[in-house]
Subunit: 146 residues, 2 copies
DNA sequence: AAATATAGTGGACAAAAGCCACTAAATAAT
DNA sequence: ATTATTTAGTGGCTTTTGTCCACTATATTT
């Protein structure tokens, strides 16, 4: 019980404010093709080099059934392809198609622009401050996990 | 275009990490009585001293119809009561019942504990750092809005 | 007074997400 | 080696969440 109530509540205020701001950005980001979760899945497939559905489900904290359906959709849209694993015939590895990679790259690009947009009214020094602040928190947060 | 791509992406990493952490906390928070949106509405009624449904809908970025239904539910659960406005007979002001206030207080309490839980592995100095970091970001963020 | 706008509600529907049961393959136990 | 148990993925079904539209009643504008 280190921080007093008032400061805890200020943290909560920030959380609300920040998550809402990010939520607004996310809304703008998404076209009609993919919803937010589908986009996350796509990006994670790109990042986590050929994961399995289960790995994705764990990573994104999704129901495995739901994950399966999302992947199905992405396959139908020709953004992802499934190949059977050789070691484990139950399992599947997921890869982006060329089109999927393009869409992912586009999402990634736009997502960067959104952050720049969020910071658009800050001058260079302030943006640096924001960045270092984030880094500090990230560091503390990972420390807090261990 | 102040911050380079790498740093933007570090910010994004933090965002993912942080929102996920908060999401996990929120899940633990909610009992069977209220879902997340209902809880938000309840807390906002407490905070925004007797708002109208429309004010809530705008504040929380909800559909007015959806908001109406949520309020209906909260009224049925005897957590909120509606009283007709005297100035505008179309409108309604919302107040918490005693029970509603209790539930809101409980939610608020638990929500504070969640933040403490998030920081549980940090020592006093680190928690202070976290707090000041948050404050800094909050300040920059509000500045960014104007 | 008539036209228009606004607050709230409910019906119908759509999208998002979760639960459960099942198949098939892999692993552990006997 | 056979049986039992666990695990990866899938589909059916349901619930939750959210949207769209139309409607009533009051307020505001013309």
């Amino acid at each position: 019980m280190v921080l007093p109530k008032k400061q805890i509540n200020q943290i909560r205020d920030f959380n609300r404010q920040y998550t809402q701001a990010l939520g607004v950005l996310d809304k703008r980001l998404l076209g009609p093709t993919l919803n937010w979760t589908e986009a996350r899945v796509l990006l994670e497939i790109k990042l986590n080099h050929c994961p399995t559905p289960l790995a994705l489900a764990r990573l994104l904290d999704l129901d495995k059934s739901y994950t399966s359906r999302i992947i199905k959709k992405l396959v139908q849209k020709q953004l992802v392809s499934k190949t059977a694993s050789t070691q484990d015939l139950r399992s599947v590895t997921l890869t982006l198609t060329a089109k999927g990679d393009e869409v992912a790259r586009d999402l990634d690009q736009k997502s960067q622009e959104q952050i720049r947009w969020l910071l658009r009214n800050l001058n260079a020094a302030e943006q640096e401050e924001f960045y270092t602040g984030i880094r500090k928190l990230a560091q503390l947060l990972t420390k807090g996990k261990s």
